[in-house]
């Protein structure tokens, strides 16, 4: 008998259909991968199993957990199942824990709520659950608070909470999306171990085919609230039938075509740059200590080149970006753009600054929602002494929008009228409008769905060919960096540990850290044919 059997489930929220007649099964001791892009209904499917749905949700069909019909249970009965029979792990570990309670209290709560045991007993078992989630008591005592832990460690606490009572089913909704690659690999390994040890069923939800490919025994591919294809993952990867699944697979390994006209002349030269932060930590008037975020970093970007910069969170990527943009001064070394310093007299050198632009990760947070697109994308004009006005400005707006594949009429709209991918195109248009030489792409495609990401990467490749742009491409995603850059720098703890042609570095990493990164990066099975 299946552990979880979802049959012909449909769901509407306030009359809007979200799930349409979906079916899937999870067997004990097996992993079901649920894959889909944003809006595919994969998270709502998970919350349907928990029956933690938004107000106004109406379901029909059947969800059977060990033969028990979930949809017919009362709220009290459901509370008895959540946490005991089904555990759940969420995407964002930074906010998934109560900041005011110790991790011990939060894990013990799962036990106390379901079983009539003493507090001491619950604590002992909470310590055991944390140990199984690989947070040993000698380093991570129960008395720790969430803010004292890193993202990966917090995710382990959430996992410990979910498995404390050894549930039959664990649902993990994008459990590693917010984590670094090496942490992601460790968490996936932990989940796999728990499935094997406890004979638990795991429903692993992800937008990333590669993350699921390694782990899942069975796969379900969802789009717009429907299951488009499902089956054992080996067979499915080898023989995808549905055009959408094939498109998804193709997009996740997409390599844009670039002509690439790298010249020999260096456009940006970073030499021996040091960036330190002062942290006051020793008493009120005591000595200050320095934190070195970027340490002795040197590299060059040649004109027309696309250079990748990879590294995990906290490695100094963003600090380096700010220094290159002239937003902050450096404590040692120098940064020259076309021979001129980027930072002079306590502020960014305007002559140079107007030739560099940046595109950030978050297509939702990086626009003022009260401005029209025309005003948003002409913002860099403040860098020019004599910006175009009137008809000339209208022409420039139209050109920038059209070059990123949007319509010139879009300039009269507000940002909420656009999808994530379109917003990122607008961000690129904003960078293009003053015709810069260098564009820094700071995780610019990380928040996008794979198919949209493929389109944006194509656009970037096309633009660099047309306008002779130079890119500094910062990302934690090795496959994206591989697809669009010629050369790559690997950064760790403020230092560049390895650099070279992208293919060479990733195929034959020399530095220990690069080896780790490459090994941790999720990959599709090698024998998968991309049609």
């Amino acid at each position: 008998m299946s552990l979880l059997k979802i049959k012909n489930l449909s769901l509407a929220i306030h009359g809007v259909p979200i799930l349409k007649d979906i079916s899937m099964e999870v067997e004990p001791g097996r992993v079901l991968g649920v894959i889909g892009e944003s809006g595919s209904g994969k998270s709502i499917t998970a919350f349907s199993v928990m029956q933690l749905l938004p107000n106004g949700a109406e379901s029909s069909g059947n969800i059977a957990l060990v033969g028990q019909d979930i949809l017919s249970l009362s709220e009290v009965e459901l509370c008895g199942i959540r946490g005991r029979e089904v555990g759940m792990v969420f995407q964002e570990p930074m906010t998934a824990l109560n900041p005011l309670k110790t991790i011990g209290a939060q894990v013990a709560e799962t036990i106390l709520i379901h079983e009539n045991v003493s507090r001491a007993d619950a604590k002992r078992r909470a310590a055991e659950a944390l140990r199984r989630a690989e947070l040993p008591q000698d380093q991570f005592p129960l008395s720790r608070y969430p803010h004292e832990l890193s993202g990966g460690q917090r995710q382990r606490v959430v996992i410990a909470m979910a498995i404390a009572l050894r549930p039959k089913l664990l649902i993990a909704d994008e459990p590693t999306t917010a984590l670094d690659v090496t942490t992601q690999a460790q968490i996936l390994l932990l989940l796999k171990r728990l499935v094997v040890e406890d004979g638990m069923g795991l429903m692993l939800i992800s937008h990333d085919l590669a993350v699921v490919a390694d782990l899942a025994d069975d796969l379900v591919i969802m789009r717009e609230g429907e299951v488009v294809e499902s089956g054992p993952s080996d067979a499915l990867f080898r023989n995808m039938q549905h055009p959408y699944s094939r498109a998804l697979l193709k997009a996740s390994g997409h390599v844009p075509e670039r002509v690439g006209q790298t010249q020999d002349a260096a456009l940006l030269r970073v030499s021996k740059v040091v960036r330190e932060y002062v942290s006051h930590s020793h008493g009120l008037w005591g000595a200050t200590s320095h934190f070195r975020a970027v340490s002795d970093v040197s590299f060059e970007i040649r004109r027309g080149e696309s250079l990748g910069l990879v590294g995990e969170s906290g490695c100094g990527k963003s600090t380096l970006t700010r220094a290159i943009l002239g937003l902050e001064d450096v404590q040692g070394g120098e940064i020259l753009f076309d021979g001129q310093p980027v930072f002079t007299h306590h502020h960014a050198n305007k002559d140079v600054r107007r030739r560099m632009q940046v595109v950030f990760q978050d297509p939702y947070g990086s626009f003022n929602p009260r401005w029209k697109v025309s005003k948003l994308i002409t913002e860099p004009y403040h860098l020019l002494e004599d910006p175009p006005r009137g008809v000339e400005q209208d022409a420039a707006i139209a050109e920038a929008l059209e070059s990123v594949g949007l319509n010139s009429d879009d300039q009269h709209k507000y940002i909420h009228e656009f999808s994530g991918g379109q917003r990122q195109r607008i961000a690129i248009a904003r960078a293009l409008i003053i015709k810069p030489d260098l564009i820094i792409l700071d995780e610019a495609v990380s928040a996008l769905d794979v198919s949209v990401r493929a389109q944006v990467l194509d656009l970037l490749a096309d633009l660099s060919d047309r306008f002779g742009l130079t890119y500094l491409f910062i990302s934690h995603d090795l496959s994206v960096v591989r697809s669009i850059t010629e050369r790559v720098l690997v950064m760790k703890a403020g230092e560049i540990v390895e650099e070279g042609p992208t293919g060479d570095v990733f195929d034959r990493p020399k530095h220990q850290y690069t080896k780790q990164l490459v090994a941790a990066a999720p990959a599709l099975p090698a024998d998968v044919q991309v049609a």
Partner: protein, 315 residues
């Protein structure tokens, strides 16, 4: 935690110092000579001089500031220009009315706001929620002196449950005093409770939308358990801020209500002192209120640290 405490304490001392300078200088530039005011229009120049000397009005600005601030520190607030009695005694008497009144009003407002805010938040979008929001809207809009007069009409004049004004004095017994403070405290608490209810409700609703509430629900907690165990303490932080501000306001801002009920409180004292140009009383009361505000903020900061472990580790 200890470092957090000392840092707050240092900032408290600096705020007091800055406030004393500002208050002193502000009253320096106000026109009018207290000595001339006290002795009337026909006073002789040498009599005036003698009085100025006695009041400490001669000497350089720095000398006068130091003697005033030094006096404050030792509890010597000077002598009132109009009543010729020590300011410290006058303030002390009035404080015995104003402080209990402020505490009474704050207690009432908290006792109303917490349950009402929690009730409204836990039934978001229901008639209960709409009702609570409507009543609090009204509570904020109604001027409290008008509400006070209404209560006097109903409870003092018609029903004769309370007296219409005046203060029994603590010598008359605890309950008699509390009784005479009840109507003013209700009048003061009405707008405060309304604001606090709305803050409590919206803060709690924000917290209930947080990811960790979903985590708690996934563990098997019911909606109510998740709210009481996880949301409430997190929602308290903005509520504490507002309560701190309200207490300071109640201590200083009861002038109108004290006048409506003829209460011998600090508000009325300051009001009378300003009309009589009794600068030393004004200075002292204002300084005392500043001290109270800063102390309240200090306590609120400490309360934050008790609620939030993230602050305890901070330096």
């Amino acid at each position: 935690m200890l470092r957090y405490f000392f840092k707050r304490l240092l900032s408290l001392a600096l705020s007091l110092l800055a406030a004393s300078v500002v208050i002193f200088l502000a009253l320096e530039v106000v026109p009018g000579d207290p000595a001339a005011y006290m002795l009337g229009l026909n006073a002789q120049e040498d009599t005036l001089n003698a009085l100025r000397e006695q009041l400490g009005l001669n000497g350089t600005i720095l000398e006068r500031y130091l003697s005033w601030a030094g006096g404050l520190l030792t509890g010597d607030f000077g002598i009132s220009y109009t009543y010729r009695t020590p300011v410290a005694d006058m303030i002390g008497d009035r404080l015995w009315v104003s402080l209990p009144l402020a505490l009474y009003a704050l207690t009432l407002s908290t006792l109303i706001a917490f349950p009402a805010g929690i009730w409204a938040a836990s039934r978001r979008g229901s008639y209960v929620d709409a009702g609570v929001m409507g009543v609090t809207q009204l509570g904020v809009a109604i001027p409290n002196f008008w509400f006070a007069m209404l209560m006097v009409l109903v409870f003092a004049i018609n029903l004769r449950w309370f007296s219409a004004g005046g203060f029994a004095g603590w010598d008359e017994g605890f309950w008699a005093s509390i009784k005479s403070l009840t109507l003013p405290a209700i009048a003061l608490a009405l707008p405060q409770a309304s604001i606090l209810t709305r803050v409590m409700r919206s803060s709690l609703l924000d917290t209930l939308g947080e990811d960790f509430i979903r985590t708690a629900r996934a563990k098997g907690l019911s909606k109510g358990q998740a709210m009481w165990r996880h949301a409430l303490r997190n929602a308290l932080i903005p509520v504490l801020t507002i309560m701190g501000l309200q207490f300071s306001f109640l201590l200083a801002g009861a002038i109108i209500i004290e006048n409506v009920f003829y209460l011998p409180g600090l508000g009325r004292l300051v009001f009378q002192a300003i009309s009589a140009r009794d600068l030393i009383v004004v200075e002292s009361v204002v300084m005392l209120l500043v001290f109270a505000v800063i102390m309240v903020n200090f306590s609120v900061d400490l309360a934050y640290a008790l609620v939030d472990p993230r602050l305890r580790g901070r330096r």
